[in-house]
């Protein structure tokens, strides 16, 4: 049975943060700036940004994760064609309609061609915004890659020192690494709870608790996570008859919360996913001692999670997914790819081949962040679940 008090605490916490997450307006960042005179806010486009460098400069890194399904696209679709994914357009729309006014900078990365061109379009349309672009290495086997990425992070640090108007010290960087290590460790705990006892924590709940961390300072987020995890530990729900699946493909554009709910309601426990992947990028802590910039660069190469935009040729594309299915004991895989997302759509071709070879059932679905109707997706998942439960 539910403990009413626990349930209220956690439910109230989640509904409060869900509202902030769904509003996608950066009102919190604006408040933060009002309270911290002269300090800057930097928007981080998916997938991964070394947040520590920004945070160590006394600035607030926030996730720019698209416009969700409450934003009308009125201007950006004349700049980006119909065959470009939703998040590229909604991000530009946020800018063109003044919803990113709280930002002093924004950073894009070498994840895909539209995101790369978007960085340039931002530069031209928003001359007052400091637009950064990180080229992440795509050669994970060269012995010179670590030196390259260290140099890239040094360049980035200099750029953010310029924005902050002050130097960023190694001591500050180490403190930021320590703090984000703690935040990521707590998020990993959240995911562990879900994969071990999915009846005690829904995917939407864990999603909201993770996503709120992309909008708040990590210091605050750590407190929220601790409170939530303590409350969740008091939950002892009975498992339902659902299949257990691993979800993959939503590492950049984010599905609407209603869609995530529909997937679960259709009869799945989502034991793992790749939502908000860049904000939980490391499978282990980044060392705090030593040269912090070097440590951040080295961690990208040897302790970051799998990502389809990282192109690591050291292992076959689908290996991490097959491993995940085996480790979690999932029954199936759900590929949830953003429409027009070339990285996710290409990866699917290799996933499908590998999953079929392993005899792991899977379902492929496409979504758009702006979608409003979830019936079709729900029916497809229900049919899939039934075929698994009763065939």
């Amino acid at each position: 049975m539910k403990d009413d008090k626990v349930s209220m605490t956690i439910d109230a916490l989640i509904s409060k943060y869900r509202e902030i997450v769904e509003e996608s307006s950066f009102s919190y960042a604006a408040e933060w700036k009002a309270k911290h005179a002269g300090r800057k806010v930097v928007g981080c486009y998916p997938v991964y940004t070394p947040l520590e460098i920004i945070h160590a400069g006394g600035m607030l890194p926030v996730g720019v994760m698209g416009g969700g399904n409450r934003l009308e696209i009125a201007h950006a679709d004349s700049r980006f064609q119909s065959f470009v994914c939703s998040i590229v357009k909604s991000t530009l729309e946020l800018g063109l309609t003044g919803k990113l006014d709280a930002l002093d900078g924004i950073v894009f990365h070498s994840i895909c061609d539209p995101a790369r061109n978007l960085a340039s379009v931002f530069k031209r349309n928003f001359p007052n915004l400091m637009v950064e672009y990180i080229h992440f290495p795509q050669n994970m086997t060269s012995k010179h890659t670590a030196a390259y990425l260290t140099a890239e992070y040094q360049r980035l640090k200099a750029s953010y020192e310029n924005l902050a108007g002050r130097p960023i010290t190694d001591t500050e960087l180490r403190e930021s690494i320590r703090l984000y290590n703690e935040q990521r460790r707590l998020v990993r705990d959240l995911y562990r709870i879900r994969s071990e006892n999915p009846q005690n924590l829904s995917t939407v709940e864990s999603y909201v608790l993770t996503r709120i961390g992309t909008l708040l300072p990590p210091e605050e987020h750590v407190g929220i996570l601790k409170e939530a995890i303590a409350a969740i530990a008091q939950r002892h729900e009975k498992p339902k008859d659902r299949i257990k699946v691993v979800l993959e493909g939503s590492f950049c554009e984010q599905p609407p919360l209603e869609l995530i709910e529909s997937l679960e309601a259709a009869g799945c426990y989502l034991l793992d996913d790749d939502f908000l992947l860049g904000w939980r990028w490391f499978s282990k802590d980044i060392p705090v001692e030593g040269d912090p910039i070097q440590n951040l660069a080295q961690a990208y190469l040897d302790r970051s999670v799998f990502s389809g935009v990282k192109h690591d040729t050291r292992e076959p594309k689908a290996k991490h997914l097959i491993d995940k299915v085996k480790e979690t004991g999932a029954d199936a895989v759900l590929i949830l790819a953003a429409k027009f997302c070339e990285p996710a759509l290409f990866d699917y071709a290799l996933y499908r081949r590998a999953l079929e070879a392993e005899g792991i059932p899977h379902l492929f679905l496409e979504f758009e962040e702006k979608m409003w109707i979830f019936e079709k997706a729900r029916t497809e998942v229900e049919t899939f679940v039934e075929s698994m439960l009763f065939d």
């Binding site: 679709d77 004349s78 700049r79 980006f80 064609q81 065959f83 470009v84 590229v88 070498s110 994840i111 895909c112 061609d113 539209p114 790369r116 061109n117 978007l118 960085a119 340039s120 379009v121 530069k123 031209r124 349309n125 672009y133 990180i134 080229h135 290495p137 795509q138 050669n139 994970m140 086997t141 060269s142 012995k143 010179h144 890659t145 030196a147 390259y148 140099a151 890239e152 360049r155 935009v309 192109h311 040729t313 076959p316 594309k317 429409k339 027009f340 070339e342 990285p343 759509l345 290409f346 990866d347 699917y348 071709a349 290799l350 499908r352 081949r353 492929f364």
Partner: protein
Amino acid sequence: MAKKEAVKTSYQGQIHLLQKDLMGDYFASLTRAAEQGEGKSAYMLISGNPVELVLAFDMIPVYPEINALQLAVKKVALPYILKAEEMGYSIDNCAYVKADVGLFLGDRKTPFATIPSPSLILCNYVGCNVYLQWFEHLAEYSQAEIFNLDIPFNRHPSGKPSKQDLEYVVKQLEELIEVCERITGKKFDYQKLQKIVSYSGQTGELWSRIKGLTKHIPSPFDAYFDSVTMMAPLYCLRGTEGGLRFFETAYKEMEEKVRLGMGPLPQERFRFVIEGPPPWPYLRTFRDLFAKWGAVAVASTYSTVGGLWEFGFQHDPNRPLESIAEHMLEWNLTNRNFLQRYDQIRRYVEEWSADALVIHSVKSCRLFSAGQGDMREYFTKELGIPTLLIESDIEDPRYFSEAQMKTRVDAFFESLEHRKILRQASAPGGER
């Protein structure tokens, strides 16, 4: 307005024939490698590649992009695309990749060559993220060795790569040399590389001078439709003596045309710059839409995918690895950022005296196309240059609507013509 008769264009000169011979020889070498096991082949991408290094080991460069576009030109791409889609590739994935994957997983026999399997998959990633995935997939299907040659994107405010970027690429090239030595069993020959790089340097210089000739009025050739004829030897034969001879011939021929005041059309009425790759499955149809209006492309961004030589770059045999790295980092269109492309086009419009910009937006290649609406905004609103944006595809014949395209092109040139008449009326004896 007078009704325009359809004009059929055909090139009157020897370089088209010479090109056919040279490309025939190149494709024959692929077939020999595939069918008789002659030589080791290295798969590479067109954009800013280190073909000089591959040739120094006598490896045969194989370009999946060329194979895909040849399938499209020969109008046989669709079954391969459909085969890939049946395997799980999306309708929204780049059709170059799909056609190539469909081909790769079949018997690899095409009307132009039989494609050999790779000894090395050399992903010279310059800008295009799809390249990385394309070659990742080929590596999984073939189980051949893959080398991701990482080229940092042009992201510095100076528009130049940093010292660290250059060092990183040169060091990777040194690692690549070891890989090639192992695969071919041959020792690296520095002087041979210098010789090859010197061919590339001279070829690039000639190509750059050829491109300068279209500044003449009338332009001696069409910098889009005739450039693609020259791009095949530029990419497949750069670094060889045969490639160099081709460009010597081409330069002479084009210079002669300038001297005689000859252009590709009976009359040059409009000069335009074109951005974006062509619709390969309908190249002739597409060309005729412009030829009909007497419109000649005087510069094109597509012809700089493999290298941007016309603004001063030249391969240098005295610094072979560094100049290969500079070519990959800085001197090709795809590793430059979108705003650098705006600049490149602006220069073309100004220095090549163009009347208009045509943007051909292709679904398959988002490196080219994503954001071209913003580009149009910039050229029309900021610079006041008449700009036409049309959409189709480089490979997939399902995305070409001739009637729609024709309506757009006609309306655009009609209004250009109207502007021209008004301008001539207001400046008697002024405009050409």
